[in-house]
Subunit: 209 residues, 2 copies
């Protein structure tokens, strides 16, 4: 698909969930960083809920641990200020967004994937909209000029639903325990705080060849 023979070495897998606040920080930063470093993004939407349940949590650790949860929103405010990213604390957290996630999986190799992901993240973390609602998903698709009904039909197909479950199973089998998580040439980096390190690792690998 990519004509650059070194493309596999210059790729970053981005595992994310639209409900994850630290995934939001990476979502708003990763495309500019990837472009500046000539790295291809491999978009890997997965459902964090089943991963947490597998680990024995029945909700986000930021909800289950109230001290950490209180801190996280202070941290988010400061991080967003530092990066120049807008933030409204969502009135519901974490928000499930299975349909929007299915659309992301469907579009993972499409030219609109970045715009789609940023749009849904902004609806959740800036506009405080219910990204789990089909009406919000419809309006978001429409705003990007995408064919609303055909995208939704394809996203809700049995095959695509199955693929999202399988991608989530794959996340678990790879040892993913949170989001965002990045992989570069098999090396795992967890958290928005490690995004630059993951890109540095792309460069380090390229330098070896």
């Amino acid at each position: 698909m990519n004509e650059n023979p070194n493309s596999t070495a210059r790729a970053i897998e981005f595992w994310f969930d639209f409900g994850s606040n630290y995934s939001y920080l990476s979502m708003m930063r990763i495309e500019a960083l990837a472009a500046a470093r000539n790295v291809t993004i491999v978009w890997r939407p997965f459902l964090l809920g089943p991963v947490f349940r597998q680990l024995g949590f029945d909700n986000s650790p930021f909800v289950l641990q109230k001290e950490k949860g209180a801190y996280v929103w202070k941290d988010m405010e400061r991080q967003c200020r530092k990066y120049g990213i807008a933030l409204t604390r969502p009135s519901t957290f974490p928000r499930a967004a299975v349909l929007a996630m299915r659309v992301a999986l469907l579009g993972a190799n499409e030219p609109w994937i970045g715009a789609w992901c940023r749009k849904i993240m902004q609806l959740n973390f800036v506009d405080d909209r219910d990204i789990g609602s089909i009406d919000v998903v419809r309006a978001a698709l429409d705003s990007l000029g995408l064919p609303v009904q055909s995208v939704i039909d394809a996203a809700q197909s049995d095959a695509n639903k199955l693929r999202l479950r399988e991608q989530t199973e794959l996340a678990i089998s790879k040892g993913i325990f949170g989001a965002p998580t990045f992989f570069v040439a098999g090396e795992m980096f967890w958290g928005n705080d490690r995004l630059e390190d993951a890109f540095d690792y792309c460069d380090a690998i390229a330098a070896r060849h």
Copy 2:
């Protein structure tokens, strides 16, 4: 104690436990950063074990969550390489070090506090020694030229033991849920990844006055 009238605005509280691997990263970095920025370190040893128990964990989350635990040591290797800090994964983790922590509390305002803390951290995370052992503590005190028996007696006094319990209670009441944690003018920063941000906040506060 400090002749600089702005000293309270130029202070960083460093809450740490000698068993905490990410506290180790901050321990090896904080003194140089504080010196470069003319910031006073307020040394705040506290026991992470009771904090975790208060949160419902009977061990470090890095032990209880094996996926996260496996990742953390990869992350530690990479972070130590990035910072140029030595690392040997301790054969026992996390190590309790109550006596060494009591010595740290006793010495929190003494000129040897930084050297003491670095020494114990290196014994744990580089030399893989049992920092919970009184013999290791004795040898460490001796290596710094400190009066071994009188320091140990003072550290083990009922008053000093009580102070460490109280400092740990204070950590819980301040909403601390992990280590390292930093406070600057009441603002909390969690994790070695936020150490630079905490120092930046010192500067931001100073600029306001």
